[in-house]
């Protein structure tokens, strides 16, 4: 199925390129490619950089398809007058080096107006500077590491890092503490053990959680690292078990977290495993996540938001199933921020060229809209003003939301 859709997307993409080439040369009115809209000025591209293969592809494909949905709708509604929009999705394999290649490829295409991505904070670190050099706005649906927007001293001396970088999800300096509050105050777990995978996302998240756990009177009894390709965690688990934790917090993603949770239980360490948005996926449960395991994720539960309903329905109508995953709604909003910025930039029928890129950055930055995840708006660092977080728990083999709110200290 998936292979087919990639293939047909490639074919569609290729034919669009051909049409674009025609479009830029011809002077007569177009209107043949975008339904009833005028597309005489050619095709502009919204890039997507996300892991489309590999362990995290469930999340990446959700991001790609949701962006495609946003672009489709914009084409139908003639949001950008005179142009047809297309999506060019690049696979980063959750690998920073591959992400850099993908970004380079997109940034050399003069018709790329903006990029939705990345999933991984570590990949964002290599993608940001490449897109900045070409003044291409990047809107991430999923990067939660705070230093991406506010630098390494994000708490004490925040400083805007990249004027082309925005995100529609909230950050780990809120997500970590929010999880800590839930663990210590609501769930009453005072002794927490930490396991991380050593990547930008997991380390940052676990560090923020640790600080808040200590502040709330809990203790971090131990902290261990596992390799991304490790499969047997018995050594780590035995070590942590001896410290008697009441819960284990894992900073990382579901391909490791799922098996880790099962092996904890097998080893007799039957305490909840908690993680961030990186483990909030159905795959976590399939791979061994157990009843009572917890996760925080950004935003309110997609199904519960009135603004999200239209997105979910449209997604189902287009792709036939609800595999938008954890970041689909965010990706949809991110793509719409780019499209909205573009529509404003080209208001009054202007043509697209490199001189529009400065205005494009400003317009994406000042974009406001009511999206699938709530109100979309960026602050002075490029962060989302929507700081809602949700705690989920595995109940009868499914993620169920148990608490939604904002971190208040």
């Amino acid at each position: 199925m998936r292979k087919h859709s990639v293939k047909s997307a490639a074919i569609v993409g290729a034919s669009l390129l051909v049409l674009a080439a025609c479009g830029s040369n011809k002077t007569e009115g177009g209107g043949t490619t975008g339904g009833s809209c005028d597309t005489s000025k050619g095709t502009l591209t919204v890039g997507v950089v996300a892991p489309l293969s590999g362990n995290l592809s469930a999340l990446g494909v959700g991001i790609k398809q949701s962006a495609e949905l946003a672009v489709d709708e914009a084409n139908k509604k003639c949001t950008v007058p005179g142009f047809k929009l297309a999506v060019s999705a690049q696979d980063d394999e959750a690998n920073p080096a591959k992400g850099a290649q993908a970004a380079t490829k997109l940034s050399t295409d003069p018709n790329v107006v903006g990029v939705v991505g990345t999933l991984n904070s570590s990949v964002a670190q290599t993608v940001q500077p490449i897109l900045r050099d070409k003044k291409i706005p990047q809107v991430s649906p999923a990067n939660t590491n705070p230093s991406l927007t506010r630098g390494n001293d994000f708490l004490t001396a925040p400083k805007r890092q990249f004027d082309n970088y925005f995100r529609v999800c909230t950050t780990d300096d809120l997500q970590g503490p929010y999880a800590a509050n839930y663990l210590v105050e609501k769930a009453g777990k005072k002794k927490i053990a930490i396991i991380t995978d050593g990547k930008t996302y997991g380390e940052g998240l676990a560090a923020e959680l640790s600080k808040q756990v200590t502040k709330k009177g809990g203790t971090i009894v131990g902290s261990e690292k596992v390799g991304e390709k490790d499969t047997d965690f018995s050594g780590v688990i035995a070590k942590i078990k001896a410290l008697g934790p009441e819960a284990v917090y894992y900073g990382g993603e579901y391909p490791v977290a799922g098996p880790l949770s099962k092996q904890m239980k097998d080893a007799g360490l039957d305490v909840p495993l908690m993680g961030g948005d990186g483990i909030y996926d159905g795959k976590f449960i399939e791979l061994g996540g157990k009843e009572g395991d917890l996760a925080t994720s950004v935003g309110a539960p997609t199904e519960s938001l009135a603004t999200a309903k239209a997105f979910v329905d449209a997604y189902k109508a287009k792709f036939g199933k609800e595999d938008y995953a954890a970041y689909g709604a965010f990706s949809y909003d991110a793509a719409n921020a780019i499209i909205g910025g573009l529509a404003k930039t080209l208001e009054g029928g202007a043509a697209w060229d490199d001189s529009k890129r400065d205005a494009m950055l400003t317009n994406v930055g000042s974009y406001t809209g009511s999206g699938a995840t709530g109100n979309v708006k960026f602050d002075q660092y490029g962060d989302s003003t929507n700081k809602v977080l949700t705690v989920y728990s595995v109940t009868s083999g499914k993620w169920k939301d148990v608490q939604t709110g904002e971190f208040t200290g």
Binding site: S53, G54, N55, L56, S57, A58, G198, E224, K225, V226, G227, K229, D230, T231, D232, S234, G235, V236, A238, K239, K241, A242, P255, G258, P259, K262, Q263, D266, A267, G268, K283, E286, L287, G288
Partner: protein, 304 residues
């Protein structure tokens, strides 16, 4: 103390898995002096073969572990053996008399080929796949030490198969032919040993053991991915070198040493679990410096 015992138990289980794969490395090396880097992938395809067998079973059989589990072993082993025989016939046999580097590079190529083939052609193999729950569940608890039943099964299978293999090679007619070929292929041929048959049999035995390991790996850890062959293959290769390439006993003991170092060093050495691999290779380097032939290996003879 209880932590140490638990870590030792974990180490033994990890060692048992590595031992099953290491036997394949060491036997092939013993016979044709080839480090078969693709052997880790044979282990990986066996795991996928077992999973495919389970998927193809009718629904009522899926529910009965007593039927499904043996069938998965058969399926996994058949896939492993077929892959290993094809690999020997088409990748290694044509290079039998080529310089030693040529089959080594070929082995790396075969390894990449198998990994990518599974990734591309096995449905959803792009991400981890959960393994069916047909293995014995629960733990054996002795005092404060927990070992899962699949872990115990793994150790029993590993040690049992290694003993059977050792006996087979020492006692049987074919085993004698294998030892003769390992010692001197040309003289063995003059004595009426068919080297092609011996070599194919060696690959088949290695594949059967890797097949058992592949299925047990899935059962023990609950999920499989296409990288599993590479990572465990490296450990198995290290175990074979540590024990002395070509020595059956050496490979098994080397594997248990590696399992134990990994868990014990992760617990007690500075750096913890983050650096547990480092200690494995520190020990390997020390052994190779002071005893280049490995713990149980024989000093290499220059062959005519």
């Amino acid at each position: 103390m209880s932590v140490l015992l638990q870590q030792l138990a974990n180490g033994v289980v990890q060692g048992a898995l590595i031992a099953l794969i290491a036997l394949g490395y060491t036997m092939v090396y013993g016979i044709i002096q080839l480090i078969n880097f693709a052997h880790g992938e044979v282990f990986m395809v066996a795991s996928y073969g077992g999973l495919a067998t389970f998927t193809l079973l009718p629904d009522d059989l899926k529910k009965s572990p007593a039927v499904a589990l043996p069938l998965m072993f058969v399926g996994g082993i058949v896939v492993a053996v077929v892959v290993a025989v094809i690999m020997e016939r088409f990748a290694y046999r044509p290079l039998r008399n080529a310089p030693r580097l040529a089959p080594l590079i070929t082995a790396l190529g075969v390894s990449v080929f198998l990994q990518e083939a599974v990734r591309v052609f096995y449905p959803n193999a792009k991400s981890n796949l959960p393994y069916p729950k047909v293995f014995p569940e629960g733990n054996l608890t002795i005092g404060s030490v927990n070992i899962s039943w699949t872990g115990i099964m793994l150790v029993v299978l590993s040690v049992g198969l290694a003993v059977i293999l050792q006996t087979y090679i020492n006692r049987s007619r074919m085993g004698r032919a294998m030892r003769a070929t390992a010692q001197d292929p040309d003289t063995a041929k003059l004595m009426g040993v068919n080297p092609d048959r011996v070599i194919v049999l060696t690959f088949i035995i290695g594949a059967v053991l890797a097949g058992v390991a592949g299925i047990m790996f899935g059962g023990y850890l609950n999920n499989i991915n296409i990288d599993m062959g590479f990572q465990n293959g490296i450990f198995a290769f290290t175990a074979a070198v540590l024990g002395g390439v070509g020595s059956i006993r050496g490979a098994v003991i080397g594997a248990f040493i590696i399992g134990l170092i990994k868990t014990v060093a992760g617990q007690y050495m500075p750096g913890g679990t983050q650096y547990d691999y480092v200690w494995i290779f520190v020990v390997l380097i020390l052994v190779l410096v002071f005893r280049p032939q490995g713990l149980f290996g024989e000093p290499e003879r220059v062959r005519a």
